[in-house]
C-alpha cells in the first residue's frame, strides 16, 4: 500500500523534503515508517520521545495501523501561538 508522509519544521529541515510517498507492506503501522526513517537519519530516534505522529490529521501512536492512501505526518513539538 501507498501512504503520504509529511515532514514539518525541524524534520523538514533534517530530511530536506516536505513530503514523500512510501510504499509499505500490508499490515504496516506508524512504527514501520519510523524504522525506515531511522535508516536514513539515525539521530531521529532521539526525537521520537518528544515527537508525535499523526494519521489523517489526528494524533496517532506507533501502533496505529495504516491503510492505503493514509496521510501520515511527523509532528515535532508544537510551538505555535506566542511565547508570552
Amino acid at each position: 500500500m501507498k501512504v503520504t508522509v509529511k515532514y514539518f519544521a525541524v524534520c523538514h529541515e533534517m530530511l530536506n523534503r516536505s513530503e514523500e510517498e512510501m510504499q509499505l507492506p500490508e499490515g504496516s503501522t506508524v512504527i514501520t515508517i519510523l524504522k525506515r526513517l531511522e535508516e536514513e537519519w539515525p539521530e531521529i530516534a532521539e526525537f521520537y520521545e518528544v515527537m508525535q505522529m499523526s494519521v489523517n490529521w489526528e494524533y496517532a501512536t506507533e501502533n496505529t495501523e495504516l491503510t492505503e492512501g493514509d496521510e501520515v505526518a511527523l509532528i515535532p513539538p508544537v510551538t505555535g501561538g506566542t511565547d508570552v
Partner: protein
Amino acid sequence: MFKITEQIITGAEVQQAVEAPDAGAIVLFLGTVRNNTDGRPVQHLEYEAYPPMAEKKMAEIAKEITNKWGIHHIAMMHRVGKLQIGEVSVAVAVASPHRKDGFKACKYAMNRLKQIVPIWKREVWADGEAEWVKPDAVFFEQPSEQT
C-alpha cells in the same frame, strides 16, 4: 472561523467573526511579534503549520469550550510565513453571555492551541542566525495533554 493564513491578521476580523446579538461580552487575545526574546534582538519570525490538521485541532478546541462553558462563538486564526516585529501571529476571540466565562474560555483556547495545534516557530535573530524554537519544559512534562 478557524484559519491558518499567510495574510496579515487584524483584531477586527476575529471580532467580527464572533459578534452575536445574544452575547454581550467579547474577549479577544492577540499575540504579536516582539522585538526580542529574552533580550536577544529578533529580526523576524517564521511560522510553519500543517494547515488542515491545525484547523481541525482549532475546531476541536472550540468544541471543548462549548462543552465546558456553553460558548458557541469562537474564532481562532494563526499566521504562517514571515512575520515582522509587531505583527499579529495568533488571534483568538470569544463572544459569550457572561464575561467571566469569556475570559476563561479565551485563556483556555490559547493554552490548548500551544499544546495541540501543529504550528512551529522559527526565530531569525538580528545577527543572522536562525533556529526552530524548542518548546518549554512544561511541554515535555505533559505529553499526555497533547493527544
